[in-house]
Symmetry: C2
């Protein structure tokens, strides 16, 4: 079992969302999907936005790195004109769907919308378009995902992330062991083979 | 040709200093050693010390990551009780020796002192011990490395790092392409094969 903490507006989470299912399948490891919002985490550090925006030099580097990383992994890439994109509604849907069979397909579709189509992911019509394309009952899902109970679940998810010491995304947990970043996905999965 | 920018007090630079010679040899790539000081770079961002010290959560993670990374690469590891260690004198020596045949051996020895022996690296007696162990003329090297000319060279190296947009270490350059972090060493070398 691997806990996969990711944020739908995070570019390095994009790489892992696209890769984790195949890698975990090959390793025989089950994925526990843990969508969360980085905004409140960054806010708790006193940051108003992503460090890639706050730190000019690092930000400039990240977009060059993403071009090379996507080429390496064979993933589509278009630098988003809005970054980081707000992802509250799709995160509510992802948290609602965390144990449903379509969680992976949904997250991949949202990520592609953000990082390959350079398109909004937070408006209700954006999320509905994704659900429609997956032939899922969009109206019902959107209603459920925006219920008071689900809103409270997302707030609890943020608190859980803070309590775990999560400071960025993607973040993987194998039992108590924390692995940070897409670059550690293989190491995290390999650690389960060694155990 | 790969430009290898590293700081002798940086733990992730330790991983690359220990690995780069063998990897570059296998890839048939020459290394241009570019020792530099991160302190003035961080200061230019308004930081008093390493982000691993300034950001508690990330700092706690880094030491766990280092244990796993060193195990993966088969490197010795002992978490330094002083971090980041001041490395001005050994950096002066490294810059003086950048094109000498003993540059790799010297940097490895300093890194092992810092990250495997948890020992000071900045005092003159510390650097002399490293040079003596390598059977190098310590007195002459220490005199040369501390000359006015070498001091001015190190200041110029800092300005060059800033001009290149370097914001952390290790940093690799393949022509104009910047690669950040020990995790990108293999990618940087592979890019030379593709070119």
């Amino acid at each position: 079992m691997i806990d996969f903490w990711f944020e739908l507006g995070s570019n390095y989470s994009y790489l892992s969302v696209m890769r984790i299912e195949e890698l975990a399948r090959r390793a025989g490891v089950a994925i526990r999907w843990q969508p969360f919002l980085l905004g409140p985490i960054f806010a708790s550090f006193g940051w108003e936005t992503s460090p890639f925006v706050l730190q000019k030099e690092k930000g400039a580097y990240v977009w060059k790195d993403m071009v090379r990383q996507c080429k390496k992994y064979g993933l589509a890439w278009k630098q988003p004109t809005v970054f980081p994109r707000r992802a509250v509604l799709p995160t509510r849907v992802a948290l609602y769907a965390a144990e449903k069979p379509w969680i992976g397909a949904f997250c991949k579709a949202v990520m592609l919308k953000n990082f390959a189509a350079d398109d909004d992911i937070d408006a209700e019509e954006s999320v509905r378009a994704v659900l429609d394309a997956l032939q899922l009952p969009a109206a019902e899902i959107l209603r459920e995902a925006q219920s008071a109970e689900q809103r409270s679940q997302l707030r609890a998810q943020t608190e859980k992330a803070k309590a775990l010491g999560i400071f960025g995304a993607p973040m993987f947990f194998v039992k108590q062991e924390m692995y940070w970043g897409n670059d550690r996905l293989e190491d995290a999965l390999a650690s389960l083979g060694e155990a």
